[in-house]
């Protein structure tokens, strides 16, 4: 299959290792991965802040960037951004009176998948250790980000794949379905409420005794990781793509105060 990677803006700029890990998993399964260079962002930051006109411009950029390419599916390492493609992009284009872009956005969204969705529903992966060679010795807990869980309906997909990684010891967090407090611009526009939310999330993570907290959205992990770092906690945050990409030959190295280096690359 020819897969177009939608890296998402935050992964592109802040966590390239997550995109690298996603590529590694897809190539391991024999897919050809391409990266349309014109891509930028899903438009959520503008849309959810109420800047709809700007958001429409970003939607148009996304649609045009991907329409230049031939591919079978789009894969992104984010539940939130993928949910936004189908849920918000057509609405934003319609609102701007551009029904052609609205239709293209809906068509592209129908071919876009969050990583765990693609692996299970499209590729039929049910065991990360056996089918992806995933190996990560360590104690892990997981945060299920709200948009993936509620808007996209990912259910237990990410958690199930994580739990089948060889060597991994899993503990579920109390209040798994509770928001970490990120919420995009909410995190600084309502900084105190957001701060109280992430403080509770971090406390629950620490109660698991895990040394790594993983998840499917780099934005939530940046929020959680930033709060852990501020607290001086030794717990590290890692995207689940990095754990799935980790193998016995090229294990994921978790080190340093907040920086994590993917092995191999």
């Amino acid at each position: 299959m020819r897969v177009a990677l939608f890296s998402t803006c935050i992964v592109d700029a802040m966590y390239p290792r997550v995109a690298q890990a996603t590529v590694e998993i897809l190539e391991r399964l024999g897919h050809e991965v391409v990266f349309p260079q014109g891509q930028t962002c899903c438009s959520q930051m503008h849309a959810n802040s109420g800047y709809f006109d700007d958001a429409y411009q970003v939607v148009k950029t996304h649609v045009q960037a991907f329409e230049e390419w031939d591919f079978d599916a789009i894969v992104a390492p984010s539940g939130s951004c993928v949910a936004s493609l189908g849920h918000q992009q057509p609405m934003l284009a319609e609102r701007a009176g551009d029904s052609a872009i609205a239709k293209s956005a809906a068509d592209l969204a129908a071919r876009s998948f969050e990583l765990s969705q693609f692996l299970i529903d499209v590729c039929g992966i049910t065991n990360a250790a056996e089918q992806l060679g995933s190996y990560f010795p360590g104690s892990v807990t997981y945060h299920s980000s709200c948009h993936g869980m509620r808007l996209l309906g990912l259910g237990s997909r990410q958690e199930d794949l994580i739990r089948t990684v060889e060597g991994l010891e899993y503990t579920r967090i109390e209040g798994l379905d509770q928001c970490c407090g990120f919420g995009g611009t909410f995190s600084f526009k309502n900084a105190d409420t957001s701060g109280a939310m992430v403080a509770d999330k971090v406390a629950n993570i620490e109660k698991t005794g895990a040394s790594v907290c993983t998840g499917g959205d780099a934005s939530c992990l940046m929020n959680i990781g930033g709060a852990l770092s501020r607290k001086g906690s030794p717990v590290q945050t890692v995207h689940f793509a990095e754990i799935l990409a980790s193998t016995k030959e090229k294990p994921l190295q978790v080190s340093g105060p907040v920086s994590i280096t993917a092995g191999g690359k």
């Binding site: 529903d121 990120f182 105190d192």
Partner: protein
């Protein structure tokens, strides 16, 4: 006959307690410092949350019920004019009197006139959101009439000279000890050694209210639903104090928002399943009262209803926002809301707190009024409210829709009246900068070449701990990790170069693959259970 076009009526917003008088973030910051409040709220919301989840999980058709509830409400809103007139006709035919109020002030004036006609200075009240919205108690007080709240929690709030902070459990911010202190101070003739035992507290309240029920001749109520086909009014409640108010007085005056209509008695069946489970987490509420007109020799003989608009028609005019009028005031959204749980109900200013308040208040009172425009931003858009809503109000979608209105308004006005201008300028600049980058992959590629420079800021700690301006809110609570040496797009270009954009050929049939893999999620889940069973959640 010739017709004259009168034009569209102007949108008329409501008045009363539907305003946020301080920006939400500032109000919330103060409330967050109150440790007792946070502890009370956390305990109470989690308890109701768990109870609700348990009774909902036992219904196999819960999602169908939600859909039915949503569709009935959509039908009501689409034909509201017809149903209201049908209701008026039937309520009147059975001996009741119907009054129409354009806003809260008119509703209060009508109630005052009706009370004065009875020559009394004290009236009993059943818990009602509509009268809280109009500020009826304070209005009557100014005109020499005492309104006695007979719902236990409303009584606590009234005696404590406090404001409700939750629509179902108005005293959720108070714990037992605080309630005991209020009762000791405010209930005449109460045992001075009153303990904080719930049974003793309830007895103290009963002692005070029993006399009021037996002597006051006028009562005021709200209503849960008004049924158009019969003119029947209904109230569901837990304590039975409402039943006393509805049956014992000679005069009953009911405040009813115009959106509370149901077309038929059969529709009521859906809501009687949805409401108790969503609000108190009970399968059925203890007291369900229905009254249809006047019955000679039994119950109130002087029966009134005040049909109140107060901004509801304005909300109805908004195609996306109007679903807020579907609300049945169950409070499930606030019980599951992570923002409400921490900031508390008072931070929302209005009678309607929590997620529903954040979309209802700006629509009823006007988003341009006071600080109502800050309410739609008081959410992380986590979606827990939508998931819990028994009538499927898509609160996150309406929040985002209203954020758009707030930004458009700001652009039109230059600044919000009384708002902090500098914050909006920073926000506008940030959004403009991001838009510029996000509308060009090439520009983004150039910009991310500057990433190594940002490592100068992070220095030896490999993190950013203090940022200026509005984004300083982020670093008040969290660090930012050291940015990478290079962006993914630039690495990719360097390592992989350009692949051909067009390769032609048949596209893989994704839907066929998905259909073939239908059982894979269950399989993955079973394998996960075998590999790493979830024995129990960490406590």
């Amino acid at each position: 006959m010739s017709t004259t076009a009168l034009g569209m009526p102007t949108v008329r917003h409501g008045v009363g307690n539907i305003f946020e008088f301080e920006p939400f973030p500032e109000y919330a910051e103060k409330e967050l410092k109150n440790e007792q409040l946070r502890a009370n709220l956390g305990f109470a919301t989690h308890k109701i949350r768990d109870k609700r989840a348990a009774v909902i999980n036992e219904l196999p058709d819960w999602q169908d019920l939600r859909t039915a509830g949503s569709m009935i409400k959509q039908k009501v809103m689409a034909n509201l004019d017809t149903y209201l007139q049908e209701f008026e006709k039937n309520f009147t035919a059975k001996g009741g009197h119907v009054h129409w109020a354009r806003d809260a002030n008119e509703a209060n004036e009508i109630a005052l006139r009706l009370i004065r006609e009875q020559g009394v200075t004290e009236v009993n009240k059943i818990k009602s959101m509509a009268t809280a919205e109009t500020g009826l108690n304070e209005f009557l007080e100014e005109h020499g009439i005492s309104a006695i709240e007979t719902d236990l929690a409303e009584e606590i709030v009234q005696l404590g000279e406090d404001r409700p902070s939750h629509i179902l459990v108005p005293a959720i911010h108070r714990n037992r000890t605080e309630i005991r202190d209020i009762f000791r101070k405010k209930i005449e003739g109460v045992n001075p050694d009153l303990s904080d035992d719930p049974a003793e507290l309830a007895e103290a309240s009963r002692f005070r209210l029993r006399e009021k029920f037996l002597t006051n001749k006028v009562a005021i109520s709200g209503v849960n639903f008004g049924i158009a086909e019969t003119g029947t009014m209904t109230i569901v409640e837990s304590e039975g104090n409402g039943r006393m108010c509805l049956t014992l007085p000679e005069t009953l005056i009911t405040f009813m928002g115009i959106e509370k209509i149901l077309p038929t008695t059969q529709d009521y069946e859906v809501f009687l399943q949805l409401l108790p489970r969503s609000s108190t987490g009970e399968r059925m509420n203890p007291y369900t009262s229905m009254w249809t007109g006047v019955t000679p020799g039994d119950g109130p003989q002087n029966l009134h209803v005040i049909l109140m608009d107060n901004g509801r028609t304005a909300a109805l005019a908004d195609q996306v926002g109007r679903q807020a009028l579907h609300c049945i005031r169950c409070s499930a959204c606030m019980n599951v809301c992570p923002v409400y749980e921490r900031a508390g109900g008072h931070a929302y200013g209005s009678t309607y707190p929590g997620p529903i308040g954040a979309i209802l208040t700006p629509q009823l009172g006007g988003i341009e009024e006071q600080y109502n425009s800050t309410l739609p931003f008081a959410s992380s858009l986590c979606g827990a409210c939508y998931e819990a809503c028994p009538v499927k109000i898509n609160i996150p979608d309406v929040l985002v829709h209203l954020r758009g209105k707030a930004v458009d308004l700001e652009k039109a006005q230059g600044e919000f009246e009384g708002g902090k201008k500098d914050r909006h300028i920073q926000m506008d600049a940030m959004m403009f900068g991001a838009k510029t980058l996000f509308t060009s992959g090439k520009l983004l590629s150039l910009a991310t070449r500057g990433l190594p420079a940002s490592r100068l800021i992070t220095g030896r700690s490999h993190k950013i701990s203090k940022l200026p301006g509005i984004v300083g809110g982020w670093t008040d609570y969290r660090d930012i990790p050291e940015p990478p040496k290079s962006s993914f797009r630039n690495d990719w270009k360097k390592e992989r170069g350009e692949a051909p954009k067009r390769v032609g050929g048949e596209r893989v049939d994704l839907q066929a693959l998905i259909a073939a893999n239908q059982g894979k999620l269950a399989e993955a889940h079973a394998k996960a259970e075998a590999a790493n069973p979830i024995v129990k959640e960490a406590k």
